[in-house]
């Protein structure tokens, strides 16, 4: 996988959805070759920010990739540079797993071209990495939620982009496959890939290099995951309903029960 140092930068970026301001003007710079987790409560604007960074949503302000406005990148070149894994992607059920993952190679293939040996090798590699190779000929409709998520992850990985943006990639994954995902992200980072993930699993998010904490369409904190200030920002944004602890040299977020009496 070739890697170039493309930094992703948002300046004065804001967005409205259905007449509602879901992102207030914000600045963000993501260093190449690092893993950044975006966290925050529901409705904080995390997915919207990720879509804006991917160039998939109309917005105000500018997003640049490698110093060049994202909108000025030719579409296919941009697609080879920035890969996207959406939240709860709905896929046509009668596609085979192999065909679905092969769609990740579209930006590398000539228009109406056939997959070549390299495309097939790349697809096989990521299907094996996500342990989905055995179902390559099954239809997507026959997969469970977790299996489908692994196939979608293989599709995003098969783009082999410099930057991988993932919105809730752990949805439906069981703990062993969450651990596999973590190992896979670490491997990508070692090879120089910039990874940005929106995560609700705070303990997993704390394994990243950097943490972007969001609330009500704004970034309230951006810092290293190892920084205690990041932990305090996290606890604060969740109204002290989580506390960050260290367990076996890893940070773990433990939720605390509500003080509101359960009527049941």
């Amino acid at each position: 996988m070739s890697r170039s140092a493309h930094a992703l930068r948002a300046q004065g970026v804001s967005a409205r959805l259905g007449g509602v301001q879901v992102l207030h003007p914000l600045d963000l710079q993501l260093e190449p070759g690092r893993w950044t987790s975006i966290v925050g409560p529901n409705g904080a604007g995390k997915s919207t920010l990720l879509k804006v960074l991917a160039g998939l949503l109309p917005h105000q302000g500018s997003v640049s990739l490698g110093g060049r406005a994202l909108s000025q990148w030719p579409a296919r070149e941009r697609a080879r540079t920035v890969a996207w894994l959406g939240q709860g992607e709905s896929v046509v059920d009668d596609l085979s797993v192999l065909d679905l993952v092969m769609l990740g190679r579209l930006p590398h293939q000539p228009w109406l071209g056939k997959p070549d040996a390299q495309d097939l090798a790349v697809v096989e590699k990521y299907l094996r990495q996500t342990q989905a190779w055995e179902w390559r000929n099954r239809s997507v409709g026959a997969l469970s939620g977790g299996e489908r998520q692994r196939v979608l992850l293989a599709r995003a990985l098969s783009v082999e982009a410099d930057i991988l943006l993932m919105d809730e990639p752990l949805a439906n994954l069981d703990p062993p496959h969450q651990a596999d995902w973590l190992q896979m992200v670490r491997g990508l980072r070692e090879r120089g890939t910039t990874v940005v993930s929106v995560l609700h699993e705070i303990s997993m998010a704390l394994q990243a290099d950097a943490l972007v904490v969001m609330a009500q369409g704004r970034i309230t904190h951006h810092g290293a995951c190892a920084d205690p200030q990041s932990h305090r920002a996290l606890e604060q944004v969740f109204d002290q309903r989580i506390t960050i602890h260290t367990v076996q040299d890893q940070w773990v977020a433990i939720p605390t029960p509500s003080t509101i009496t359960n009527p049941l």
């Binding site: 160039g55 941009r78 697609a79 959406g86 046509v92 769609l103 579209l106 096989e124 239809s139």
Partner: protein, 338 residues
Amino acid sequence: MTQPARHAPLVLALGLVALALVFLVLGVCIGSTGWQAWTDMARDPVAWQIVWDIRLPRSAGAWGAGALLGLCGAVAQGLFRNPLADPYLLGSAAGASLGVCVALALLGVSPASLEWLAQIGLTGAAFLGATGAVFLTLVLARGVQHTLRLLLAGVVVGVVLGAASSLILLMQPQLLQAMQGFLLGSTAFVGWGACLLMLAVWCLCTLAAWLFSPVLDGLALGESTALSLGLPLAPMRLGLILVLALASGTAVAQTGLIAFVGLAAPHLVRSLVRAKHAWLLLLSSLMGGVLLMAADLLARALIAPQELPVGVLTAVLGGGYLLWLMHRQSAALAGEAT
């Protein structure tokens, strides 16, 4: 890495072409004078006329209209990511009906005007109505950007134009009988001119849809992911909608409202092979042609020497087949998952 059944699409395409040729020969042989016209055509000018001017263009026309509808079905189902999408989704059927209804109402229903209409204006009115309805849908949906808005606009246009046709028929009930042939669908009056027109439109639309087919592949993953893969969604979606309008407008203008062929053809293909849209579009088109040819043969043979309206037959057979397919696929998916 091995890809199973790599040649399956090609085999199916060749099989469908062969089947179409067989049905063409059968179509030439079936009619009120039976096989005799076929055997006597070399020495009997009347038999020659029956075969060359009536039966052959009729069968070829059935293939043409079916192929256009099959293509439209595959385009619509890919574009709207909905397996229930059919060629008339954007209002073309209701528009064509209204076009015919208005033309009949304006020109009256005397035998002379009907003859004039059949020769000159009826197909034109249907085509204008169909394409006009799709245009109206695009205007109401404010472009092609939003799939849901397009679908809703298509439904609204279909309902409103359908109501307008009903109103005209209510005010002029004598039009009902003349409209019936169009509403039930028929290949009986397709001539060589219509065949050539459908063939030209089919070539153009199939080529255009094939060029845009990677967009339909990408859309299988959803709009955001398709965009992230660098696919130019907006211009190609417009191109595909124009294909849909032109192909469905042409088919409906020549043969009236033929149900289920466009809906069933892509399902049939998908139940036989797994293929990308570059193949799926062509195969659905070939399947649509074969389906309508088969329905046309049955319509002519079942109660011979009389005929059933082919549209009625496609509705009954197509609907039944889809139900069976739905049941079979549910069972297959359940088996695959366990």
